[in-house]
């Protein structure tokens, strides 16, 4: 049938009287890189948590189409959420007793360029290094879907840029379906195949990004998306 892997159908989510999501319909194709942008409080995290099965919708459904359902989606949180009492390596392999997992964990640490830090405790690492460990941990079970909730928000611009490239590289190589929540339209325009704007508790606007775009095209897309978020005519100004 269709190539979609995530189907969100008529989803509503209420916290008591507060409507966090209203009538969200969304279909995401296998291997796509989605950026979910919007103002804070717009329901981005809520949508992501529903897709991750960390919470249930009040009504509607979230379907994941795949043959094996276990360990299919992995969630990377805004905070690193590493376990400080374990070594970096154990933070990757902690959910399994299998001997092979240690080897796999070491490979993933090498991938995020932290191979030499396997024996360290996480509080010996910098913020960017911790996020790379968290990324490696999310990749441990070979997920098909990677959900990233503003994982780079706390990082400085340079580290952030490097992390963006690393994430893009890994997602493309491993053919992951990725949803990245961000409040940074430039980041969205730079990384995503498709940008979805969350506004007033629903997905109000979306746009496909051109392939192999240059800096100029990224700026244009970012402006247009920002305009949609803020209900303003796109002007290339210091709006961000």
């Amino acid at each position: 049938m269709s190539n979609s892997i995530i189907n969100v159908k008529n989803v509503n989510k209420k916290y008591d009287d507060l409507v966090a999501l209203h009538d969200v319909n969304l279909s995401i194709d296998r291997g796509q890189f989605i950026a979910l942008v919007g103002m804070s409080g717009g329901g981005k995290s809520t949508l992501l948590r529903l897709i991750a099965n960390l919470e249930q919708p009040t009504s509607g459904s979230v379907e994941i189409n795949s043959s094996d359902s276990k360990s299919l989606t992995r969630f990377m949180f805004q905070e690193d959420r590493l376990l400080p009492w374990m070594s970096v390596l154990d933070n990757l392999s902690f959910s399994s007793k299998d001997k092979k997992t240690k080897k796999h964990a070491q490979e993933l640490l090498d991938l995020v360029e932290l191979g030499d830090y396997a024996d360290h405790f996480s509080n010996q690492l910098s913020g960017g290094q911790k996020q790379r460990v968290a990324l490696a941990r999310a990749l441990m079970t070979n997920p098909k879907i990677l959900l990233l909730d503003e994982p780079l928000g706390a990082l400085d611009a340079l580290t952030r840029h490097k992390m963006q490239d690393l994430i893009l590289d890994i997602c493309k190589k491993q053919d992951l379906t990725t949803i990245l929540v961000t409040h940074d339209v430039e980041e969205a325009a730079r990384m995503a195949d498709r940008i979805i704007v969350m506004k007033d508790s629903t997905n109000s606007y979306e746009e496909d990004c051109p392939k192999n775009r240059n800096a100029g095209q990224i700026g244009v897309v970012a402006d247009r998306v920002l305009g949609e978020i803020l209900d303003e005519k796109p002007v290339r100004k210091q709006l961000a």
């Binding site: 960390l54 276990k70 992995r74 949180f77 959420r81 902690f94 405790f121």
Partner: protein
């Protein structure tokens, strides 16, 4: 350049000084005490000299009296702590993990906790006499509460974000406990155990002084009846040493079990 050299030199000197410093005051006090006794400023019926106390210790060790009473006290302390700490940990564990248990037990436990456990001595003597179980029960009751409260709070204050992370990584209930809940509560649990060690000795001293026919507390009480000041002081010194040793043991447990806490880099 000059400055850097002198700084590093100062560092070299400060290492042994730091090691000696904590012992300085005890050494001065003991020396002053010995000198005052030797010069006759202190009557031996009020305060015998350190050397006399040491002499007494050697005699009582040779006669086997001190080792026998010491091992009896150690036995009561250890067994009482194991029982009390064990019950405290179990109660803290079930109340920390289950809301139903917490609502069922916690307020009753809090009520019981507000009774000073030493006030139970007459009751316990009436129930259990002056045999071993009386002393052990008292130590157990005294040490139970600090371990309970700290285990309970340790488990309750586990970061919910980490729990959510564990669940999203499909950890089993058992894994959640051993990988996340227990290690995160451990620093607090160890605080409870360290506190319990203090309670353990105080309780035992009082219990042995009031009703016992063996143990260090009994030795002190017995010596008092015979106006044997050397032995009275000796027993106090023995208690001080036992307290210090248990504190050191607790500290070394902490530094082994919580090695990850020492590695943090400065948050500057």
């Amino acid at each position: 350049m000059q400055k850097a050299v002198s700084l590093s030199e100062r560092k070299k000197f400060s290492v042994p000084v730091n090691k000696i410093l904590p012992f300085l005051i005890p050494i001065i006090v003991i020396l002053a005490w010995q000198v005052s006794s030797s010069l006759g400023w202190l009557s031996s019926s009020i305060l015998p000299s350190p050397l006399a106390v040491l002499q007494d210790g050697i005699t009582l060790t040779a006669s086997g009296e001190l080792p026998k009473n010491l091992s009896v006290s150690l036995y009561r302390a250890t067994v009482g702590l194991l029982i009390g700490g064990g019950i405290g940990f179990l109660l803290g564990f079930i109340n920390g993990m289950s809301n139903t248990c917490r609502m069922l037990f916690d307020s009753s436990i809090q009520m019981f906790r507000n009774i000073p456990h030493l006030a139970l001595i007459p009751l316990i003597i009436l129930w259990l006499g002056i045999n071993e179980s009386a002393k052990i029960s008292l130590v157990a009751i005294g040490t139970m509460f600090p371990v309970y409260i700290n285990t309970f709070h340790g488990i309750r204050s586990v970061d919910p974000d980490l729990l959510e992370m564990g669940k999203s990584y499909e950890l089993s209930k058992k894994q959640l406990f051993f990988k996340i809940i227990f290690p995160s509560a451990l620093p607090q649990i160890l605080v409870g155990i360290r506190y319990a060690l203090g309670v353990m000795w105080t309780t035992l001293i009082v219990a042995e002084t009031i009703s016992a026919n063996s143990g260090i507390g009994y030795m002190a009480n017995n010596a008092e009846d015979f106006m044997d000041m050397e032995t009275v002081i000796l027993c106090i010194v023995v208690y001080a040493i036992l307290g210090k040793i248990s504190d050191l043991v607790a500290k070394s447990f902490e530094s082994i079990l919580l090695d990850w806490q020492k590695t943090g880099r400065s948050k500057a």
